[in-house]
Structures are given as C-alpha cells and as structure tokens.
C-alpha cells in the first residue's frame, strides 16, 4: 500500500499514485487532526498533493531528499508537528 493509514497519521510510502487520491480525501475528511508522514515518500501524484493542500494537513515528517522536500514545502504548510 502506498499510503498506510493509521489512527491519526497516514504514512506515504515511495510512489503514491493517482488512484490513492479518493481514499486520501475520504480519510482526511473523517479525521479531526490528520497528520501526514512523508519521510518514506519519493513521489506524490499531484491529485494527492492537491488533497493535502486543500486540507492544509499537518506534515509531521518530510522526505530526506532536499529537492523533493523543497517542492513539497512550497505547497504544504511548514508546521512541523511533534511525532
């Protein structure tokens, strides 16, 4: 599974494809304080990214690749929540 949904944190793994967007949207909608862990994520299809942006989701961990992280940080709120 490219996205592993936990109780309040969703962990994105490797390539997250366009098909995940619907589920992600649903999940974010149902969670009061959803948190996203991107540390293992190498690519997100923009459909998912849009959902994250619209939901202004808190990102608790960023990917290690600085360039990729910079792309994501430009789109997502930079709040660094504690794990």
């Amino acid at each position: 599974m490219p996205i592993e949904y936990g109780d309040s944190t969703a962990i994105f793994r490797e390539m997250v494809g366009v098909d995940e967007a619907e589920d992600l949207l649903q999940w974010l909608h149902n969670k009061a304080h959803p948190r996203i862990d991107l540390s293992e994520c190498t690519h997100i299809h923009p459909a998912n990214l849009q959902v994250l942006m619209a939901a202004a989701t808190m990102i608790v961990a960023w990917p290690p690749d600085p360039t990729w992280r910079q792309w994501l940080e430009s789109a997502l709120p930079k709040t660094r929540g504690d794990l």
Partner: protein, 847 residues
Amino acid sequence: MNPLLKEFLAESRDALESIGIILMRMEKTPDDAQLVEELFRIVHTLKGSSGLFQFPEMTRVLHAGEDLMSVLRQREISFTQLLADQLLDAMDFVALLCDEVESCGQVAATHSEQSVLLAERLRSWIVKPLTDSATNTDRPTASESVFALDDLGEVHPLDSVPEAIRSLAEGRAKEGVQLHWVRYVPDSECFFHGEDPLHLARQTPGILYGRILAREPWPNLVSLDAFRCVLEYQMLVATDLSLLVEHFRYVTEQVRVTSFDPFFPCRPSNDLGISEIHAWQVNRIPRHEQNAFCAILSAQRRALRVESEPKGCEGRLRAIALVLQHCAKAIGDESAKPKIQQALDAALVLQSGKPLLDLLHEWVGDQDLTSEESESSPESSVSPAPDDSSVSGILEPLLDSPDDTKSPVLSISDTQVESTISGLDSSFPSDHPEGTFSKSTREEGPKFGRRADDHLVSKTLKVDQEKIDRLMNLIGEMVVAKNALPYLAKRAEDHFGVRELSREIKAQHASINRIAEEMQDAIMQVRMMPVSVAFQRFPRLVRDVSRQLGKNVNLILEGEETEADKNIVESLSDPLIHMVRNSLDHGFETPEIRRALGKPPTGTLTIRASQEADHVLIEIQDDGKGIDPSLVKRKAFEKGIIDQAQLERISDREAIHLVFAAGFSTAETVSDLSGRGVGMDVVRNAVEKVHGTLALESVVGKGTLVRITLPLSMAVTKVMIIETDGQIFGIPMDVVWETVRVARDDIHQVQHQQATILRGKVLALKPLNGFLNLDAPPKPNQDDQFAVLVVRSENGSLGLIVDNFRETLDVIQKPLGSVLTGLNSYSGSALMGNGSVLMILNVREMF
C-alpha cells in the same frame, strides 16, 4: 523488477516487432495511409510508455521517430528505403536499450551520444519546422515560438526564490548557462490523460528551484474534486532552451518560459519609464544613459521590496543608499543627498527598506504602489508561496477570475496591458502575440499525452510461460498418477482376490484417463504457437542481408499459421536464421551472374511450414547455385572429416550432408566453398535437441532445399521399452526403425564388429549391454534368436541387440538433473505408472 517495467519491456518488444513488420510492408506499399497511421500510433504509444521510466535515451530517439512519423502521415515527406533503414536502426537501438534495461535494470549513460545522433538523423528528414502543429522541433532558433514568453512584469524571478538558490543561479549564469523562469499550468483535465505534471516538473532538466501553487482558493474538502488539476508549477531552470522545449514537448501550450539574466532587469521597458521619474530631471543626462538610469532605480526598488533576512539587511540597505547617492550625483541633484542619508538611517533602525522605498516613490511616482496592493489580493493569498508577496506579480496574469484589483495594472504600460489581458483569458494558452499555438490548430493537431486512450481492449490473455509450464508439469504428474491405477487394479485382483473392486478401479481409471488426456491436450493447445513467430524476423533479415550483399532476393513465407509447441517454435528461430543467412550469403548469385545464367535476376527464397501427422515440416528452398558435392567431398577430406576410403565410396547425396558435420564450418571453408557451410552443425544440433531431423537436397545450378522435421510437441515422448540384463530402458520411438529377430547363425563377425544381412543389406550390430557396460551377454529366446532393435539416425542404421522388446508408452521426459547431467548415454528419464523410473537412452551416442 518492477512489474510495470516488466510489462513495459514486454510491450516494447511487441511494439518494436510490429514497427519492423509495418516498415517492411510500407516498403511495398509506401502510400498506404493506414500503415502510416498504425506506425505513428505504435511509436507514439511506445514513446509515451518509455516516458514513464527514466530512459531519456530511449525517449529521445522515440520522440524523433514520432516526429518523423508525424510529418510522414501528413505527407510532407515521402517514404523511402533510406528512411526505413534509419527508422529500423533507431528501433534496433531501442531494442538494445530494452535488453540492457532487462539485464541490468537501467540504461548506461554511454548510449546518450548515440541516441542524440540517431534522433538527429531522424529529425534531419523533417525538412521544415512545423509552426502550426504541436510537433514542433526543438531547434534553438525556433524555440522562441514554441513557448509563450512569460511577461514577468518588473518582478525579477530571482527575487522570489530563497537566497541560497539565488546565488546558485547567479553562479550558473556566470558560467554562461542561460536561466529561465518556467511556469507550467497543466490542463485541469490532465489527470484523466494519465499525466503526472508534478513528475514532469520535477524532471525538468537543469532545475534549480521549483514550487507548487494553487490556481484558485481551496473549496472545503466535501466539494473538492481531487482529479481536477488546479495546481501550477513554477521553476527556476538553468539549461538550454532547447532542452526545455524537448522536455515540455507535449505540453508546450501549457508552459511559459522567460529567459532572463540575473544581473539585469528582465524587461527594462516595463521598468520605470523616464516620464515617471518626475522629481528628477533625468533629461540632464544623455539620452542613451537615461534607460540605464531607470533600470538602476528599478533594480533598487525591487531590492528594497524584497524582505531579506536581518543578517544581510544592513549591508543591502547601505548599498542601495549608496547607489541612490550616485544616481543623484549623476544628474546633479545634490539636494537629494541628505534625504537619502536620512532615509537610510531610518531604514537601519527599522531594519526595513520602507523609508528608502518611500523616498524612491517620492521621486519616481507611485503607480507601482497600486500594483503592489493588487499583489495582496485574495487570489494571491491563497497561493502559499513560500517567499514573499512579490511572487504573485508573476502569477497575476494567470489568475482566471477577473478581478477589480487588476485594473490599476492596466494603466501601467501598453505591453503589460497586453500580457495581462492574455492572462485573463480563461483558456490559458491564449493567442499570445509572442506565439503559442492558436486554439483551432491545437484542436486539429495530434492529441498527445493520451496514453490511456492508446490501449485497445484485447481478448488475448498474456500469461507468463512459467505458469503454463507449471500446468504442464502438473498434468504430467497426473498422467503418471493415473497410470498407477491399472497396477492397483491388478494388485486388487491378484493379491487380495477382489475382482469386483478391480473392475471398479479400472472403470474409474478409464474416466480419469479421458479427462487427463483432454486436459493434457488443452494445455498443449495453450502452448501451441504459430510458426510465424519464428518467421517474422525473416523479412527484415532477408531485406538487410540481401541489400548488404547487393543481391535481389524475394522472400516468400508460406504456412505461417502452422502451429507447434512454443519450445519447438522458439528453438526453430536460431537455426532458421542461420540457414537463411547462409542461403543469402552463399546460395544466391548476384543479379549479374543470375542474368548471365538465364535466371531471373531476383532470386526467390521460400520458407514453408506445414503439418504432417504429428510433425511440423519446415522447408527452406532457394533457387541459387546449389551445393557442389565434389567440392564438399574434397573439403571434407581436407578437413579430415572423411578418409580416403569414404571419399571414394560416398554418394553425392551423402556428400552434401557433410556440410552438417562438425568442423566443416571454418572461416576458410566459408570463403572458399560456394555453398552452404557456416555453422551448419550448429543448425543440426539445435534441430536434434528438439528431436527433429534435417535433410538436404541440392541440385547444382538449380538451388537447395533444406527440410526440417520437428515434433509438434516435446511434452510427450513415445518410447519403446526394451529389456536387457533384467533392466528396462526406454528408446524414443522416432529413432526406432524396426524390431527384428536374428538367429545366432546369421550374426557374423566382421573384424571387431558384429553384423548381419538384413534384406540384402549389411547391418552393424551392437549389444546394448556392451554400450551400457553390463557384463552379461545378450539373451536369445527359445529359438536361439536375438532381439534386434534397428535404430536410425543421419549416420545410418544400427542394430541394437537386446534381451526382449516390451510395450510402447507415452511418457513425459524429464532432463537429467544435477550430477547426472553429464551422462550422455541417457537423454532423460520418465516416471512409469507404477512409480518406477525409466531411463531413456540417447541412441545417437551409440553410433
């Protein structure tokens, strides 16, 4: 390997094959528009798929190929053989890359040069750049018209990127690399076309910085449509424009590029106008310096607007103040000096450029203040730009909803008005004066990036061969297990005396037997493949080789629909290629010689497949010069393949078969011998490996016919069981010629060899026991007759003396594994119904 990649490789191979076939057909019918369409579609699909992976070399060549296809189908150039040659070369290159990807998972960078070369060669066919279609080529000179230029207004792209990136960009610019600001606004429906704009953006060549912005305010989650793309991508790129053109080739109309120099304002004309600097008498300085003066002031104003980190703030403010002092001095306005100093002091206290900015406005007017206000309009606030509000100046013309706040912008300058209006057009790729494609041509043009549309529904199921093999093994086991039932029935009757049960078991066996046989047949059917699979390489091979040799050869393929087991068909392709190549090389004469001999100048090579009983017959026939038996004999003698006695005795028919002898295929022979000879023993071995036979007929001056007979399937082997020294062995039925009983008196000793006369012919005899190193002598029957099994191979006949003959049996032959692999006397083993193992003898080893 990633399953997607696996799929891609399989698909690519199919596609490349189809491309080859179509190109061949096009050589015959160059005007067939359908073929061109088909070709374009395949190349396009292949290119699209290759884009999913990181194989730029592959994609580049396919791009070029696709471009070429595109002009071809628009009939701007016509199809020629040379063009076909180059396309085939390019496809071979792609095939090579596929092989490499399969073996090492990636493409070596060393191919890059070749791919560029191939792509250029293909592109050189495209005589004129297509200004009216989306397939524009990436000539640097033409690139201006490929992308719409972006009007950044007076906002310098570098102002909006983080400091570290800015200095990196400036460094690159100093090295002479051109900087571009790229804005990519994908189509809102693009996700449905299988596009991933973010991936495309991330892969931009030479990218230094990138960011993602939303084009419109986010609705609440309930009404959000995740699949409508509302993002745009902005990138700072240091690379050649041509690379950008190539990269964004499919979305050119969605991309705007501004090339700029980090050390100069991007659009001086959009900077402060001379008339705007009303407080200063700019006309005191020479006219040609006035523009520079305005540019300097504009740059200062920009610098002041950027909110810098406190660390460098003081230095920056002082520098700006100094520049302003010099400017004032240049136009002889001494009164400005204290004002500047005063503003600087205030600015230093506030750690902000505002006092200096205010002073600047005093002098140069405040039109830009209004435009600055518009920057903090609702639209721009929804874009979470990481840096500051000045970025949105770039964004502004893009925003779809017309907004009042834009009106002040309209008053700035004519050029800016133009760009703003074009930006207001909701269809982003507007009729921009600087040349993007107009809407109508876009719609008529080829639709790119629609990979999802390319898939046709297929009724065929692609199954991994391993799965079929497994089924095959299972049914084999089932056949064996089923064969145990008659033994069981026999035991029930003999040991336990229950005849009733025995009968029932037999009845059950009958029905299981029927089902198992049908099942076996069904599975074999799945494995059946038309021989056309092995044949399809030949048109290309014949074409290439004959052109290379300067010969005219017409290839005729017959019976391509004949089916055989996959393994057989696959094993066929190599020997066939060998023979076809041989025939082309040595069989056919050049057109001049053929004409002189009164033959048609174009030779005919026929490859024919047909089914005969449970065998597939493949014939390769040419009308070349044939094989000269005397020459073969002499050569074979020289090579030591035959001795003096054989040389005298051997018939012409036998002589030509000597070309299949091992050792006959030396380089010298090839060049001297005016017939076949290259590695024909390889051919023979390959055919024998699948239990096939090979025959050759040749008439000097008329041509040669090679006939290959192959079993339909290798899965089931019919064997004859023989008994010797109390053991049983299997001998494949295809080598068994007959079984005879020979009386002891009829066996004669000729030197060290036993022999008998069978129907007037001498038949050499060998006891099987001797071959198997068994000490026991052969056992005759009551009438003192020996059981002789006559076996045949291409080397002649041989009588094997055994103890007794038993029944024939269908077995599933398994190759010998591990340590037994080296035993040449056995070709394999099989399981019998009672669970015992039957060794299958390799008769060819006995000659």
